[in-house]
């Protein structure tokens, strides 16, 4: 039963800071959050670096709950053979890419991998339609019809598929993304502004029933 107050060693922290876009506080906070996902008997520092957290647990994080790409995000960052669990270092990688200060290059690289649903290295029509379905949500009323979908994908390929091979590859993707008026800015909105895991301390994200304010009026 390692104390949850125990910290990462200084050297490791320094290395993590070299390797990610996170600050020291953020790394410590990330570690704390990660440890909370572990079973209590494995929360010592050494063990927490070895342990892996299953996909379901990561997906239950309040910060990722509403994200339509949550499963893709976890799979892309997972290094386990079955791609179904995250170690602490994978977790840090994830946060680093999503952080404010990460460069557009690395963001677009990972964005491509997230959008590449079948992991074949290009965005083909199935990937794109999958992406559209993610963006329009699960509800019946917001779904696009088949013809609309086809039209949309045709238009996208028209714009982005420069070599006309029917798929969008990484360099084409990055080319398009770098043209985005919002993208070159520091807080770029692809993964806009900051981490989806905002590393916030409060875990009381009670998701209210719809049409309610976020908090009860007398909550604070």
């Amino acid at each position: 039963m390692g104390g949850s107050g125990s910290r990462l060693s200084k050297e490791l922290l320094a290395e993590y800071q070299d390797l990610t876009f996170l600050t020291k506080q953020e790394i410590l906070l990330a570690h704390r959050r990660f440890c909370e996902l572990l079973p209590p008997e494995h929360r010592s520092v050494e063990e927490s670096l070895q342990m892996r957290v299953s996909l379901e647990q990561i997906l239950s994080l309040p910060e990722l709950k509403a994200n339509p790409f949550k499963e893709r995000i976890c799979r892309v960052f997972s290094t386990s053979p079955a791609r179904d669990s995250l170690s602490f270092e994978d977790f840090l990688d994830l946060l680093s890419v999503f952080s404010d200060t990460a460069t557009p290059d690395i963001k677009s690289h990972y964005a491509f991998r997230i959008f590449d649903f079948d992991d074949d290295g290009t965005l083909n029509r199935e990937d794109l339609s999958h992406l559209v379905n993610c963006l329009t949500g699960q509800g019946e009323d917001t779904r696009l019809s088949a013809s609309e979908m086809k039209q949309l994908i045709d238009n996208i390929l028209e714009e982005s598929d420069i070599d006309r091979d029917g798929t969008i590859n990484l360099s084409e993707f990055q080319h398009v993304i770098s043209r985005s008026p919002d993208f070159a800015r520091k807080p770029d909105p692809l993964f806009s502004c900051s981490a989806p895991l905002r590393l916030s301390c409060d875990r009381s994200h009670s998701v209210c029933p719809s049409k309610h304010p976020v908090r009860e009026p007398f909550h604070c």
Binding site: F69, L135, Q151, S160
Partner: protein, 890 residues
Amino acid sequence: MSHRLKGRGEEGDRSGRRPSRKQAARAEGAAGRRGAQPGQKEQAGGSPRPGSPRRKQAECRRHLEPLGEQGRSSAERTSKGRRKRDGRASLKKQRAPPKTEKEVSRQEEMWKRPKKHRPPSLASSASGAECLSEEERARILEQVEDSKKLIATMRNKPWPMTKKLRELREAQEFVEKYEGVLGKGKGKRLYAYRMLVAKKWVKFKRDFDNFKTQCIPWEMKIKDIESHFGSSVASYFIFLRWMYGVNLVLFGLIFGLVIIPEVLMGVPYGSIPRKTVPRAEEEKAMDFSVLWDFEGYIKYSALFYGYYNNQRTIGWLRYRLPMAYFMVGVSVFGYSLMIVIRSMASNTQGRASDGESANFTFSFKMFTSWDYLIGNSETADNKYASITTSFKESIVDEQESNKEENIHLTRFLRVLANFLIICCLCGSGYLIYFVVKRSQEFSKMQNVSWYERNEVEIVMSLLGMFCPPLFETIAALENYHPRVGLKWQLGRIFALFLGNLYTFLLALMDDVHLKLSNEETIKNITHWTLFNYYNSSGWNESVPRPPLHPADVPRGSCWETAVGIEFMRLTVSDMLVTYITILLGDFLRACFVRFMNYCWCWDLEAGFPSYAEFDISGNVLGLIFNQGMIWMGSFYAPGLVGINVLRLLTSMYFQCWAVMSSNVPHERMFKASRSNNFYMGLLLLVLFLSLLPVAYTIMSLPPSFDCGPFSGKNRMYDVIHETIENDFPTFLGKIFAFLANPGLIIPAILLMFLAIYYLNSVSKSLSRANAQLRKKIQALRVVEKSHKSVKGRRSTAESEDTAKDASQNATQLQLTEEGTTPHPASQNQTPGKKAQDPGTSSSASGTTLPASRHLSGAQPPGVRPDSGPARSQTHPWRSASGKSALRPPH
């Protein structure tokens, strides 16, 4: 995954090559090494170029053979990196100074130490080397630098963390081991010391960065709001925080350089008339109702202009207060201008050209429309709906771009809406003018009620409260996209506020002129009173009369303080109205909807009153105009900035609470796009507009004769003349007088105009060249892709010829990669390069080669640094996996 490993495999290949060079160098003899012109040296031991002597080539070949095997495995390596590296190496070699034998032997000892890890090149060379030439050192130096660069850019690599960690540790170990070797002779210790300092500096910078991020306030609050409401609402809070920072700096300036010196060193309260409450007001001066109106004791305090004395220097520091007052007033504007423009400029940097975004509407909607900050399911639902709508809209737009009847109807409705809004604006302007005129009549009367005294502020605040919702209702007619609609709404509220503010200012200016015209008579009265007092009969002539008590001296109205008080009141009432609006409009409504819903006949939450949405445009503009008032008023009321800092602080907490407790996410979600400098542009405009009246009053109105730091002067800026004449040496005064000569100023202005014109035309031509270049690149890319797909089909039959073509293709791809990224430097340089050889567009390969040379280091394109066999062994990956060669491994 194996990118880096394979890369090192290739490094190994270079190392394999190296002993050959060394042997060659040895064969040439020590003399050659010692005396050695650089050029000769390069010939002797440098990279094996095609033109190097034959016997060495033979040796090279021998050593290259095993490395060829390795080279074949190094499939992922791009040719560019190596070439660049080789190019740099040869440069270094040329520059490396000759070295004495002693050092060589010492280095050799270190060299021979067993090395476990990194670079295989070094390890292998150590085994075969008896001596160490400077070229070896240059190599280590280069590798150390490479490792350092790797350490610095490791975080940009899309590798999993374990791999990054391993690479980092190896690189660090390598650097630590070898950087000590690099210093030579006496410089060695210095070198080590410098390395140590550099390391400490990096550590310090990191700690400092950590500290800085820790110092940014309200990060968590804003992130929390971001996750619930998306980035558009959060952008308001970020703006609020930025404004708070700016105001803190202004507050520090004013407080530290004006208020504190005056309080500490100035003449104390009650010693002179301007610092004393007049006799008539004395008994009520401490009443709360009086203080609330900033009269009484507050009026005669350091918060306002009138309190300051016109003594040239105060205290034992001989602090020149009037001068400081003036300079601080100027620098408040200077600093604000600078900071606004700087943040605007930093927002504009790296913007892709506007024309291009039209080409990718669908792709942008697809790839960048999700707001990754959303953590709230309801917000996410709204976002899904809005994305779907935007998809559908754009599809419909694409299908049928014109709907005849609808367009006419929309146009008509838009014109109607604009007409209505202009009517509203004119009405509100007139109302304010009317009210201000009336208040001037009230001010002449005695016994006015509280409402009559505060009528102007109340009317202005009410207008600010009710007009924006009215505009929003009218704007519903127009049916714009919410982002466009937001801009219109902002523009309209801006016009409303601006009109109101300027009407208010004009009316205030009337008042000031009235006071100024009365000033002469009051001045006479004052003189007369004092004269009578000292010369009146009935007093013992031998004893000098005690001076008249300052409270009894009659004094002028001090228009500067009056203006300051007006702004102070306006700020406070504005703040209160904002808070009350939030309380009533948002909080009470939320409470009502929430708790009355249990016993109501229809669903309050889904139905009519519902919860309020956060009004971004209104809040932003409120903030901007409040800041405008601060800028205008701070010259006449130095305490105003302090009040504003308090206001921003409280409103941060209050609004954060209100938005979380009683607002719901927007129905039509849209992501805040920070690419536009809209808020900043508005702020800049307001800053300029608030600079105008202040500059006017400073430059053209005479200051009051008996209050403020500039009393007794003809104009306020005379304080500068005075300082120059009295405190600076005479020749400086002459220089200033010379500089102020119109004969010099007008040419200077002309020169500035010329410079602006010149820079403008230069930037225009550059952007034109840019656009042309971009077009060319796009065309090339299409041509070259089709070319390559043809190549790919017959890639089975490979010859030396196709390999060459493929390598050119690779460079072309790199070119397009580099050329298309919005990198200002490369974009600016390439047009010039292009312009030099206009004939290049004749063939695809001909065009790209000069540019690729330019982009990827100073290697001539035709001459590859590898020898023949190496090239033939490395080409398969280039041609076969053409496209995927560029993609980092997964």
